[in-house]
């Protein structure tokens, strides 16, 4: 057999072996991804499936992984025990309005830190970073006293106002804006654009993934916030969803876990839906600047 003749015979063998390795690698990767997905999704599955179980099924040993018959009444029990519709509306108002204002403020601040020259900019930014180190709980009492003096206790204004200054959002957006090409904003200036126009017509379109990422992080934070709404609201009609869950669990008696988990599903699902639709922006936002 000549060398020329042997090559065609040899190639398929080598290709087959390589593709076999590739197949095995892909299989391994998929297996790993499935495993990670099961680990990550397991608690969510357990939450949703348990929300459809009876209490004895929830507590049963060995565990019932799949509910035998779907116990939808957990949702109606939760709904009856507390006005979840109202809580949902309150959470939505606080999250959406709060996020919109906070994001706008963060955008303006970040822009100022990047594009406006002013004395003490670096020192001010260091102060801003310092503020990120202060635990939120330390400001709880001063915030409450301020809100009480303004007469905003038990109101949407009281729920929203203290969270409007977003140091985290400002920081993240500033770091992102620093990576934008200076030439583009310079060109806009030469064309006669003012700062607001540059911000909203030039910088913002180039920052969409980061802005959406910050918006989602801020919104989820507000959606899940427990302590401030607990402190600043008193009446049932001003409560938000995380506090609503408290209505379902009495501390001294046996918990109706079916209803509690149904309530938790109601809290979690909107956040999941939001992430589902915005995930590509989040990934783009968080990986911006990572590749060269």
């Amino acid at each position: 057999m000549t060398a020329a003749n042997s090559l065609p015979d040899a190639r398929p063998v080598a290709t087959g072996s390589r593709s076999g390795v590739r197949r095995a690698q892909r299989f391994g990767l998929y297996a790993l991804l499935v495993l990670v997905a099961v680990i990550a999704g397991g608690p969510l599955y357990w939450l949703i499936s348990s929300a459809l179980k009876t209490n004895p099924q929830i507590y049963s040993y060995p565990p019932h992984w799949i509910p035998t018959d779907l116990h939808w009444s957990n949702f109606s029990d939760a709904w009856r025990a507390a006005p979840f519709g109202r809580f949902f509306l309150n959470s939505l108002i606080v999250s959406v309005i709060g996020t919109a204002i906070e994001l706008t403020a963060a955008l303006l601040c970040a822009y100022a830190f990047v594009f406006l020259p002013f004395p003490g900019k670096k020192v001010l930014f260091l102060f801003l970073l310092g503020a990120m180190m202060v635990p939120g709980h330390v400001t709880l009492l001063p915030n409450f006293l301020t809100i009480a003096q303004l007469g905003w206790v038990n109101s949407y204004a009281g729920l929203i106002a203290p969270g409007l200054g977003s140091v985290f959002g400002t920081f993240l957006l500033r770091q992102h804006m620093l990576t934008l090409p200076q030439e583009i904003t310079d060109a806009a200036k030469i064309d006669g654009a003012g700062h607001l126009r540059i911000l909203f017509r030039v910088v913002l379109p180039m920052s969409r993934p980061m802005v959406i990422t910050v918006a989602l992080v801020v919104m989820v934070g507000k959606w899940n916030d427990f302590i401030w709404p607990l402190i600043v609201t008193s009446s049932t009609d001003m409560r938000t969803l995380p506090i609503g869950l408290l209505f379902l669990k009495n501390t001294e008696t046996f918990a109706n876990w079916g209803a509690i988990l149904a309530g938790a599903v109601m809290v979690v699902v909107p956040v999941l839906v939001m992430f589902f639709f915005a995930q590509r922006y989040i990934i783009a936002g968080l990986t911006q600047g990572a590749g060269k």
């Binding site: 209490n55 009492l141 607990l230």
Partner: protein, 456 residues
Amino acid sequence: MTRTALREVTGPVLDRRRMLGAGAGLGLAATLSACGQTTGPVAQPGGGSVPDAFRGRTRVVLWSTFADPVGPALQNLVDAFNREQRDVYVEVQFQGTYDECAQKAVISLLGAQAPDLCVLSDVKWYKFYFGDALEPWDSYFARGELERTYNPRLLSEGVRKGHTWWLPLARSTPLFYYNKTLFKKAGVPVRPPESYDELYDWSRHITRQSVGGKRVALEGYQKVDGDWQFQCSAWQWGGAYSKGLDVTIDEGGAVAAGEWQRKLIFRDEIAYMATEPTADMGNQLIATLVTSTGALKKINEMAKANGWELGTGFLPKKEKFAVNTGGGGLGIFKRVPRERKEAAAQFVRFLARPENAARWAIETGYLPVVSAAVKEPTLVKLMKNDPAFATAVRQLDLTRPCDQVRMMIPNANVRIYTALQRIWSANTSAQQAFAEVADQLRKGVNRYGPMIEEHL
């Protein structure tokens, strides 16, 4: 309230469990900012008004700690009150757990706002009392009315210096629950054991059984707040958490009780620390349990659902019989205007009517706090049909409040149950775990003792 007194309140009340971080921060913030109002009348929290249907009445805001199913039971009584009379309108505002409610009350008082009535636990009310934030109830009732109305044993727990600062409402006591079906199958007497020694003798028969492929354990010890049940064990073994404010948890009976439980867990392997022991009891993972009367209704439901028969009894004894009380009561704050306090007292009087107190006990599982309630036909019927509920009522006469150090030293209960967790899960010797906690408690006594003694 003086600034010093306020700091005493803020510190102890705020540093608990879920809001531990918040507590530390708030205590610091209160000290640093010194901007809260500590004198003068307080407004109702967040404004609010009387609904049109009840226009013209005095509005009373009640801060409650009762979620489902106890919360709706309270709301039913409030609705009945609002329907019945013309001068007062009561609005219930749920504020989370005992801890969360107390923490909110502190912050609200600093913001010159407060509810007119507040549910405070047996541990929490002391902090407000020591901080001079509470108003005694006596002047809102006729002479002797409180004594004639309430169970004297429970009422006395809220009395200090001749005044009643805290009225019983949702009071409970630990009960001994046992699985009659497992006892029967094990061939041991189907009754509550007289003593822990007797129960231990039975344990080798009981724990030989399996349910659902899992060996049945004798007992489960409650991971969080287990210091409440363990208080009984400390007494039963002849010890105590403290005598007055003299800490004794690291001595004698308390240590022996801790060692007993450690032996059951790690040597005999027939007990364990449980996250939710009531659920384990319901699923027959454990055959006996010491827990609150409040769990009675649900354990009974699970027993029926899982096909076994529940029994209850007095707690077993060791050297002696001993059982404590727990739960919540009602307080009013000094800075609330007199008119609203009087209106609040009208509602409290309504709750204390025998028929309403009986209804409350039936719907919630809490002890009947009003003496005459046990003669109400509905309660008499329940006690006849449900011996388990009758056990709780009969045991009430034998209860006593927890030791002072647990009730009055900030965070004492958390420190004690954390030490218990070390015994139950890490096999730490009771002597070592309790010696460390005793040291912490003594520091607390040194710090707060003079203020406490001044108020007792």
